[in-house]
């Protein structure tokens, strides 16, 4: 592959794509990679778009975008992941409505973002409660639209992840269920193939520091919240609550992780969310695992 047109980053410079609430935010705020070029993306798919265009070298996304990127024949490697974050996504309802379990949502409207981690959570929740997809009335809404719809009672439940999750936890809002025992909800670090070969040193050096920063953040939750709250434009208590359950240590990619992704991908294929079967295992690249050990 060649460099994307118009993105003439110096060859010795790591180009990192991040999302606001991803683990990389802390790294950026702490100045872990002074020589790097940071690009902010509003969503995982937008980040993989840039990866495809050759505009970034590495980036971090949730569990659904790698699958869609693979289905879209985007060339990338998965070079790292995180520990599971099952409490980072949940089903929210208004407590006044008196729902006790997910099964109570039968016949109700449920909002969620199509094709993201919560889509997989929905699959598992339905499975667990013995419901079919037609038993509930699904409304596909992006996070920014789900919130006003949920707040204004245009939907009965909202399946959402942090930090939108934490932000929506206002008085009167109840967590009906989270992903515990249902889904792992990991984060994944993706890299462009030519970066994996051409910028391997830069990447492993950066991953080492990233890992240290993440660990530092977990150990110093208060300070982490103080650093990130202004960056995220969320108040400190909410930031802290969200990070406490959603910021997990980094982890190496293994065959098990590949198999886990493969299960989700096959599930998505069955749901018709992706038109083809994809081989996620082949995307796993263990060469940087050392940084996480």
């Amino acid at each position: 592959g060649e460099e994307g047109a118009g993105t003439s980053a110096a060859p010795g410079k790591l180009r990192i794509g991040y999302q606001r609430f991803g683990g990389l935010s802390l790294s950026k705020a702490r100045g872990d990679a002074p020589g790097a070029e940071w690009s902010l993306f509003e969503s995982g798919p937008a980040l993989t778009e840039a990866l495809k265009a050759g505009a970034i070298d590495i980036g971090q996304v949730g569990e659904a975008p790698p699958i869609f990127a693979a289905a879209g024949k985007i060339d990338f490697k998965i070079i790292g992941t995180s520990e599971p974050v099952p409490q980072g996504e949940a089903v929210l309802v208004k407590s006044a409505k008196g729902f006790k379990s997910f099964a109570d949502l039968k016949g109700k409207t449920v909002a969620l973002n199509k094709g993201s981690n919560v889509n997989w959570l929905l699959v598992k929740l339905l499975e667990q409660s013995g419901l079919a997809i037609d038993d509930i009335n699904v409304k596909y809404l992006k996070p920014a639209e789900g919130r006003p719809a949920f707040d204004n009672d245009q939907v009965d439940a909202w399946i959402i992840w942090d930090p939108y999750f934490a932000l929506a936890e206002q008085p009167g809002v109840q967590i009906l269920a989270d992903a515990t025992n249902l889904a792992n909800n990991r984060e994944y670090i993706l890299a462009a193939p030519d970066a994996v070969t051409g910028k391997a040193d830069l990447i492993s050096e950066f991953l080492g520091r990233y890992r240290a920063t993440t660990d530092w953040g977990i150990a110093n939750a208060d300070e982490r919240a103080k650093i990130l709250a202004p960056e995220l434009k969320i108040d400190e208590p909410t930031t802290k609550r969200a990070l406490a359950r959603s910021a997990k240590p980094l982890a190496p990619v293994t065959a098990d992780v590949g198999a886990e992704l493969q299960t989700i991908a096959d599930g998505f294929t069955k749901l018709g969310l992706i038109p083809v079967e994809v081989d996620m295992k082949a995307r796993i690249d263990e060469q940087f695992n050392e940084a996480f050990l």
Binding site: E49, G115, K139, K142, P148
Partner: protein, 276 residues
């Protein structure tokens, strides 16, 4: 100084007599040359590798994708859904735009009351309005239609306003002295006088309607070309995205042809003005 002292006849024009029934028809197929050339160039680029396949799919690939969507998928359903939304929204926005634009252009009071809020509203971005619209009209079809109506409102409003303001007042006076009342003047002078401008506004409004629909069809939609394309974008299906763009391009061409035809019909009187 221009005083010329050259000798006798300086410019000679000899025009042969024309063939008896020379009718100058506009050769419309000419207009297809450059779109076709573009597609051919694109395909050639893809075949030769100048445009790598993983970045932009070749037209042939896109057409195959389109064929697949048309046969397997519910392409027509998506198209019908989008067309319905666009038509309804355009109708609402268009009627409002023409009515308010006319009121603002014709009445001093209308200008003072209507125009300033419109000027304020015209730059409000759809994406920013979505949360407010969700609160006001919900997440159903109303939302999509509202966005379309909003998007198509402004070009039509501004063109109505300008079209009416540009009408030759001497003609309005003449109509007055012919005993035409307020409404008849609207019908016989203002409307036909502003018609070229209204057509231009309609052209722009149709474009704006489709663009707005893409935003609307990202919210709680399962049908529509915008939905199809943006979902494909999320799922990194570039061929579907490009096919969606192609559909938009064809809709653009189609609406141009329709408006041109309508213009030719209703603005026949202008040909005289231009040709001679």
């Amino acid at each position: 100084m221009t005083s010329t002292t050259g000798t006798a006849p300086a410019v000679t024009t000899t025009t042969p007599a024309p063939a008896p029934a020379r009718v100058r028809r506009p050769r419309r197929w000419y207009r297809l040359v450059s779109p076709i050339a573009l597609v051919v160039l694109w395909e050639a680029g893809s075949r030769t590798g100048v445009l790598p396949d993983d970045k932009v799919p070749a037209p042939s690939v896109v057409v195959r994708t389109g064929w697949r969507l048309a046969t397997e998928g519910a392409l027509t359903d998506h198209l019908v859904a989008s067309l319905t939304r666009a038509a309804v929204g355009l109708l609402i926005g268009g009627v409002l735009a023409v009515a308010l634009g006319a009121a603002a252009a014709l009445l001093r009071l209308g200008d003072n009351v209507i125009d300033p809020p419109v000027q304020m509203a015209r730059m409000l971005p759809h994406l920013g309005l979505v949360p407010l619209l969700i609160i006001w009209v919900g997440i159903g079809e109303e939302l999509k239609i509202s966005l379309v109506a909003l998007g198509s409102f402004f070009p039509l409003y501004f063109n109505t306003y300008a079209g009416i303001r540009d009408i030759d007042q001497r003609l309005v006076e003449a109509a007055k002295t012919c005993g035409l009342g307020q409404w008849q003047r609207l019908r016989h002078v203002v409307l036909p006088g502003a018609l070229p401008s209204l057509f231009l506004g309609l052209r722009l409004a149709i474009g704006a309607a489709w663009l707005s629909l893409v935003v609307g069809e990202q919210v709680n939609a399962q049908t529509g070309i915008g939905f199809l394309m943006m979902e494909a974008r999320e799922f990194a299906q570039t061929d579907v995205v490009v096919f969606g763009l192609l559909v938009y391009a064809l809709l653009g061409l189609l609406s141009d042809v329709l408006i041109r035809t309508a213009e030719r019909r209703t603005l026949a009187w202008r040909r005289g003005l231009q040709a001679t």
